[in-house]
Structure formats: structure tokens, C-alpha cells
């Protein structure tokens, strides 16, 4: 049952991401990407990480994608007739590189397959926050400093020039 859900969500993620990266219209690409992130949140939940799934929906689909949408609308890029997608000349290095990476990965996974299914585990918020704040307390401090720096930098870059 859960396996079926996993594979359905994996297909949804792959198709939505593929549509997002080939879409010429920037707003449509963002909406496809939000779909992909929702499906990825479902995968995180199935993998026993409900807190990460919730954060994925709140932060990625809720905050970051809306930030992208705001910027695209602010810069007035939402006109498909003016947008120009990459030509075939620009696609082939990406396709070549992707084919090489996927081929290497397939051979790696086809050679040794220790199919040991560990027992399904579920991490609730208590365990998660215990590990986060006890073992990785320094990381939380560093993250908060980094967010502060990003805030200050964004405010500096986004200020209006003095007349």
C-alpha cells in the first residue's frame, strides 16, 4: 500500500519537475514546481519524516515559491510571447550530462543490490527536536546567524536609491 503511494508520488514528482524545467512561461513553471514539492512532501511523510514534510510544504511551497512568484510578477516576466526558451543547441550539453549521470547511476545500482528492507521507523517531533537541540545546538545558532545575514543583505540590496 505505502509502496504504491511512494511510486505514484515519485512519478508525480518526476513529471511535474520535467514540465517545470521545459515550460517557457515562468509562472507556469513555478506552479508545476509547487506541485512537485507537494508530492515530495508526501514522499517525506512516507519515509517517516512528517516534520520535514510539513516544513517542505510551509517553507518551500508556501514561502519560497511565493517569493519566486512575487519577483516574476514584479519584474513583469509573465508574458509567454516575449519569453524565449532554450534552443536545441542549449539543451544538448544538459541532455548529454544527464544521460551520463543516469547511466552511471543505473550501472551502479544494477551491479550490487543488497535489498534489505529495514523496519519502518517514524520520527515524531519530540525525537527530532531532541536530536536537533541537544546534538546539533551549534548548527541552530549558525543557521540563525546565517538567516540574519541573509536578511540584512537582502534589505541592503533591495533598498531604493536615495534621490
Amino acid at each position: 500500500m505505502e509502496q504504491t503511494f511512494f511510486y505514484i508520488l515519485a512519478v508525480v514528482v518526476l513529471v511535474a519537475t520535467l514540465l517545470a524545467i521545459t515550460e517557457r512561461h515562468a509562472v507556469h513553471a513555478i506552479v508545476y514546481l509547487a506541485t512537485s514539492f507537494f508530492a515530495l512532501a508526501g514522499i517525506f511523510y512516507l519515509l517517516g519524516a512528517p516534520l520535514v514534510a510539513v516544513f517542505e510544504v510551509i517553507i518551500y511551497a508556501g514561502a519560497i515559491m511565493v517569493l519566486f512568484l512575487f519577483v516574476i510578477m514584479m519584474l513583469d516576466m509573465g508574458q509567454p510571447e516575449k519569453a524565449r526558451g532554450p534552443s536545441l543547441k542549449e539543451w544538448w550539453p544538459a541532455l548529454l550530462l544527464g544521460a551520463i549521470i543516469i547511466g552511471a547511476m543505473s550501472t551502479l545500482f544494477a551491479t550490487n543490490l543488497p535489498e534489505t528492507l529495514a523496519k519502518w521507523s517514524y520520527t515524531d517531533a519530540r525525537q527530532f527536536s531532541r536530536v536537533l537541540f541537544q546534538r546539533y545546538g551549534v548548527a541552530v545558532e549558525v543557521i540563525s546567524l546565517q538567516l540574519l545575514f541573509a536578511l540584512v543583505g537582502a534589505l541592503y540590496l533591495g533598498r531604493r536609491k536615495q534621490p
Partner: protein, 102 residues
């Protein structure tokens, strides 16, 4: 763990390749490069969560939270930079931003 770890890693690898292809193919559009970076970081998060679920450690989820914080600060800085550059040159073409003074 409901599926083998290799399937999760394979999915993460394909998503990563898609993000890489997006960042390479749309290299003349700053916004699409940022979207490609987002997709790649998501694939890394999926790999971390899958590993944490396989070995039954919470550390993978903690690191995916760190990646999320990194991504949000990176996106906010990069998008404010895009707005700033667009205000100066009226374009989001990455080739236009080849000089520091302008």
C-alpha cells in the same frame, strides 16, 4: 523503510539531474538557474531523508532542515540581487551581468 534505499537514491538522482539540466539549459535566464538550484537542493534533501530513514537516524532529517534554512537564505539573497540587477539593466539575461561596474 517501505521501499529499498536504492529506489529512493535513484529518484533523488533523477531529480538532481533534472535540476542540473535546468540550470545548464536555461543558463541565459537567472530565474530559471535559481529554480534549477532549488530542484538540486531538493534532491539532496530527499537523499538525506532516505538515508536517515534507512539507518533509522534522525540526523538526516536534521540536515535536511539545515538545507532548508540554507535554501531560504540563498533564495532571498539571490532574488533581491535579481531585482537589483533588473533595476539597473532592465533584463534578467545572465550574459548581461558580465561586468561588476555598470
Amino acid at each position: 523503510m517501505i521501499v529499498p534505499l536504492t529506489h529512493v537514491l535513484f529518484l533523488a538522482g533523477i531529480i538532481f539531474v533534472m535540476g542540473l539540466a535546468c540550470a545548464i539549459a536555461w543558463r541565459s535566464n537567472v530565474i530559471m538557474i535559481l529554480i534549477g538550484i532549488e530542484i538540486m537542493l531538493n534532491a539532496a534533501m530527499l537523499a538525506f531523508v532516505g538515508g536517515g530513514s534507512h539507518w533509522r537516524l534522525v540526523d538526516g532529517q536534521v540536515f535536511s532542515l539545515v538545507i532548508m534554512a540554507l535554501t531560504s537564505s540563498e533564495v532571498s539573497l539571490a532574488l533581491s540581487m535579481v531585482v537589483y540587477l533588473h533595476r539597473r539593466k532592465k533584463t534578467v539575461n545572465a550574459d548581461e551581468f558580465s561586468e561588476m561596474k555598470g
